[in-house]
């Protein structure tokens, strides 16, 4: 039973290798059913994770751990990857095989980071997830792939230097050992500088304001699935790394909370304002994602268990919407005209897109609303009313932006192809995409309704990080 909990990782890695191998060796075999098959494999992996992931154990001499935090994050990553693959319109992607394999690699990266017990494991998981985004972005735009590699390199360097300094200061690379060392030590400048470097690295990877100027333009030029990975799964991986790192530093909250407050406030308000300023659906979604990620950071900044649990709860909702939002948008990403009147001609696609945007904006009663309000409750409990007020301001701006897109989707009538300015109308959905979009819509709409098991697991996850 102990090793059954590793079966999801094995399934994911094996399937990714198989798919890439098939793409090289027998590219025409099984193309029609490949996405179906991979989605089903991910569903099985998701089921196994929920069924067998409850064990508490370690693997490979304690390098990886299976605890409630790992269970939560792994299940979330598998679920996100499954829905993303199922909702992808493969005619809009550059390569079926790489397109199917890269979300698997990204999910595996999140799983490694979630199970890591030391700084090296965290870094490796994050790099793995980020590499998948570089591959998929480079398939369409090699220049953007290179740029992402460069941005990732800077982020990685910041993170590694920070990790090295922390290792040097505490004499340990293990996260729980760092936690224990800090329990008996006052925060010093020697620890504050590497903490800032790590926060910078994680923020750059996650695209948090003001570091969004790195990855955000890259996601805008990528294919729909590529954008989903950049804005969604890779960001989730970075957030998981951030949560684990800062959970280890909670005995000395002064090391990271002031900087985290600033980053959270900038992201929440700046993301909402920027979303309001742009009109195209994909950039608007990207900025809404930045704003919601600010809420995740705000929960971490409370440095309490309830805040971390709320952040995890929101992170899963964020991951689904931010990954699948660009995916359900599909080829209709060439400005506002591409989605004008989409509600009348493609009702399911429009509904899924509307739900993604509303959830990222934190509109009630969708997944993002429940996540943001649970973070708001944690902020209130810890007395951070200024950050709470800024977050609510950002939420109002985000809501106004989201309603702007809804207006274009539903209120404006469809326009003729000649007036679309070359933007193609989103094609009708295939059967798998229909199923994927339906599952996505149900998850976003039902997340809060069935929120207790998820929030309960997130709370146990935060407890597993050693938080009180």
């Amino acid at each position: 039973m102990r090793y059954v909990a590793l079966l999801p990782e094995a399934l994911v890695v094996f399937t990714a290798l198989l798919v890439v191998g098939m793409g090289r060796l027998v590219p025409s075999v099984g193309r029609r059913y490949m996405a179906w098959a991979v989605a089903i494999v991910l569903l099985i992996a998701f089921g196994v994770e929920l069924w067998a992931g409850g064990v508490l154990t370690t693997y490979f001499d304690g390098t990886l751990v299976q605890d409630r935090f790992a269970l939560f994050a792994k299940a979330a990553a598998l679920g996100i990857a499954m829905i993303a693959i199922a909702s992808t319109d493969w005619s809009a992607e550059d390569s079926l095989h790489f397109g199917v394999a890269m979300p698997l690699v990204a999910a595996f990266g999140v799983m490694v980071a979630a199970s890591a017990t030391d700084m090296v494991g965290l870094w490796a998981g994050l790099e793995l997830a980020a590499a998948s985004a570089v591959v998929i972005v480079a398939l369409r735009r090699p220049d953007l792939g290179l740029r992402l590699l460069l941005v990732g390199g800077v982020a990685s360097a910041l993170l590694l230097v920070g990790l090295a300094f922390v290792y040097g200061s505490t004499g340990n690379g293990n996260l729980s050992a760092i936690h224990d060392v800090l329990l008996n030590r006052m925060p010093t400048i020697a620890l504050a500088i590497p903490t800032l470097l790590m926060l910078g690295g994680v923020s750059l990877r996650a695209g948090l304001a003001p570091f969004h100027i790195g990855p955000l333009p890259i996601g805008l030029g990528a294919s729909p699935l590529g954008a989903g990975l950049v804005f969604g799964l890779v960001t989730v991986a970075a957030a998981i790394v951030g949560i684990k790192l800062f959970a280890a530093l909670t005995p000395a909250p002064a090391l990271f909370t002031p900087a985290a407050y600033v980053v959270a406030a900038l992201a929440m308000v700046g993301g909402g304002a920027a979303a309001l300023a742009v009109r195209s659906p994909r950039p608007r979604m990207a900025y809404l994602a930045v704003s919601q990620l600010g809420w995740v950071t705000a929960g971490v900044a409370t440095h309490y268990r309830s805040g971390f649990a709320s952040s995890l709860f929101l992170l899963a909702a964020f991951g689904v919407a931010a990954t699948c939002g660009p995916v359900v948008l599909g080829r209709a990403d060439a400005g506002e005209t591409a989605i004008t009147g989409l509600g009348a001609v493609r009702p399911l696609r429009a509904a899924a897109l509307a739900l993604a945007i509303l959830s990222l904006a934190g509109a009630p009663p969708l997944a993002g609303f429940f996540g943001e309000l649970s973070v708001a409750a944690a902020l209130a409990q810890s007395g951070n009313f200024i950050l709470l007020g800024l977050g609510l301001l950002g939420a109002v701006l985000s809501l106004v932006a989201a309603i702007g897109t809804l207006r274009v989707l539903y209120i404006q009538g469809p326009i003729e192809d000649s007036r679309r300015g070359g933007a193609p109308l989103a094609p009708a959905m295939t059967s798998l995409v229909t199923v994927g979009a339906l599952v996505f819509s149900v998850v976003i709409a039902g997340y809060g309704l069935f929120g207790q098991p998820i929030l309960g697991l997130a709370d146990q996850g935060a407890e597993a990080l050693g938080l009180r």
């Binding site: 009348a344 009630p364 309000l373 409750a377 009313f385 609510l392 109002v396 106004v400 309603i403 209120i411």
Partner: protein, 538 residues
């Protein structure tokens, strides 16, 4: 005079309606919320090529809201007004990790709001019969808005309240932007901006109370009970942001910026929903949280509330007097009932509070009635310009009658339900807030002048030969306006419900004043003046 005597008692004990309490349902309130949501989703996915099923969609929406309103009337009839506790209560643990329960329930004020909301839903569906474009989306959004407003009324958990309060903004904004007049885009953004600000303020207020109560539960039973133990500073902070939230909804000056454009640009069905229950939620929130939960802060802030009430009534009346656009005039006049409601709350006395509770219902009908009558005049006369209109009375007699009834309702003349409201409110307020009450009364006098001027210029002056052609209201318009006017007359004539002749036994309607008493005495209890032993309570 019956209502005044009735509420002047510190602990009114209304005669229970025979047979009350026979009907109970553990799912009644959930049905009222979720059936419209389910039907809205059903409508959204009905194939409707080239509007082929437009009429069917309208019928589905109407015949969803009508039986629900019938069910609500049974619940109203069966409401046990001698019990101060919540009724038709539903309580399920939802997110226990952060203390959220799916807790619904109604007391007397809640029942008044619920009946108003149900009636507004039916009237809004009737008023929307003329919608021709994107009928499926329109009625789906209307049902969603209706469900959200109902949810906010019956919520007994602050998290659930914030959820429904915020959720009502989105469908209403889309209705305004999709089916409104020439300035619809600006109107919708203003609505989203102000109501979004209000939602944020409500969330802050709720979270302050939540944190102060230990951060374990969002349940009103817990938060509003513990509120009395808050430090004055915290209680004042929470109360001020709650007042901001309420002021954006009701609306109150100076946070009324959305009202003119939204009420003047929206189609009549949307005006009914917005100006009735959706906006009365603001005053309902003040009653629930400020009066019910923070009586100390309410006492301290009552002069501020009286000031806001006076400014709102005065501004609405003066702006209506100056404007040359009849729909703007209707929108400004629709601000007046909200000011009177808040004056009752500012009175912080049992009589004033009872008046404000009754005013939730009466103001929630008078405001949409005046705004919709003005919309009908503009529609039927093909112009919104008051100088162009003239002598319409003989040419549109139905509208003229309804206009006069709306004006009388707004002014609170006897036989209209607003009479009881205003007399209770002013009697309650002149004792505790004499300056505020005098200012509101002066504003009401200016309102009378504005209404008289409006009626004289549009209905009873010489006809303008250069004006476009005029027609009387269509039967559908007469129906929906008539239902609102009829409800105001009914409650005005039978505030305690019609009785079997020669007895005190009520017929089918136990009377709105009797039914709202459940809960009002609880709300007003902290404000009852202490009486010397042996003297009757005042």
């Amino acid at each position: 005079m019956m209502p005044i005597v009735f509420f002047a008692q510190a602990s009114p004990t209304p005669a229970p309606a025979p047979g009350a309490g026979l009907f109970t349902s553990p799912f009644l309130l959930s049905l009222l919320i979720w059936v419209p949501v389910a039907v809205a989703f059903g409508l959204a996915f009905i194939p409707n090529p080239r509007g082929r099923y437009d009429t069917l969609i309208k019928q589905i929406a109407f015949f969803t809201l009508l039986p629900l309103f019938g069910l609500l009337l049974i619940a109203y009839n069966q409401f046990e007004n001698f019990l101060p506790t919540m009724q038709y209560e539903e309580k399920i643990n939802w997110l226990p990790s952060i203390g959220v329960t799916y807790h619904l329930g109604v007391d007397g004020p809640g029942m008044a709001m619920l009946v108003l909301s149900g009636l507004a839903g039916v009237v809004a569906a009737l008023a929307s019969w003329g919608i021709r474009e994107r009928v499926r989306s329109y009625f789906a959004l209307l049902l969603l808005a209706q469900a959200a407003v109902t949810g906010a009324i019956v919520a007994r958990d602050m998290f659930v309240l914030v959820l429904f309060w915020g959720a009502s903004t989105i469908p209403l904004a889309l209705l305004v932007v999709g089916w409104g007049g020439p300035r619809r885009v600006a109107a919708a953004w203003r609505l989203v901006g102000y109501w979004g600000l209000g939602t944020a303020a409500l969330a802050v207020g709720v979270l302050i109370l939540y944190a102060a109560a230990g951060g374990t539960s969002f349940d009103m039973d817990n938060l509003l009970k513990s509120g009395s133990g808050l430090s004055t500073r915290v209680a004042l902070g929470a109360s001020v942001v709650i007042i901001v939230a309420a002021a954006t909804r009701l609306p109150l000056f100076p946070l009324h910026g959305w009202a003119r454009d939204v009420l003047a640009e929206s189609p009549p069905g949307v005006v009914v929903v917005v100006a009735s229950a959706a906006s009365r939620l603001g005053a309902f929130l003040l009653l629930r949280v400020l009066i019910g939960g923070e009586p100390g802060a309410a006492q301290l802030l009552s002069p501020l509330l009286a000031l806001l009430a006076a400014l709102t009534v005065g501004y609405g009346a003066l702006a209506a007097l100056r404007t040359v656009d009849i729909r703007h005039a209707g929108a400004y006049l629709a601000l007046v009932p909200g000011g009177i409601t808040v004056l009752g709350i500012a009175a912080v006395s049992p009589l004033g509070i009872a008046g404000s509770v009754l005013s939730l219902f009466t103001g929630g009908l008078a405001a949409p009635l005046i705004a919709c009558v003005c919309a009908t005049v503009a529609e039927r006369a093909q112009t919104r310009s008051i100088p162009v209109l003239g002598g319409l009375g003989p040419r549109m007699p139905n509208v003229a009658w309804l206009f006069v009834i709306a004006a009388l309702a707004l002014l609170g003349v006897p036989i209209m339900a607003t009479f009881a409201t205003e007399i209770m409110t002013f009697f309650g307020a002149f004792r505790t807030q004499p300056i505020g009450a005098f200012a509101v009364a002066a504003g009401l006098a200016v309102t009378a002048v504005a209404l008289a001027s409006l009626l004289a210029r549009t209905m009873f002056s010489a006809p303008n030969s250069n004006a476009p052609g005029v027609s009387d209201a269509a039967p559908g318009e007469v129906w929906y306006l008539g239902i609102m006017a009829g409800a105001l007359l009914w409650v005005g004539l039978f505030p305690g419900g019609p009785k079997i002749p020669g007895t005190e036994v009520p017929l089918f309607d136990p009377g709105l004043i009797s039914q709202i008493s459940a809960g009002v005495s609880d709300l007003a209890a902290p404000f009852v003046a202490p009486t010397a032993p042996g003297t009757p309570a005042q």
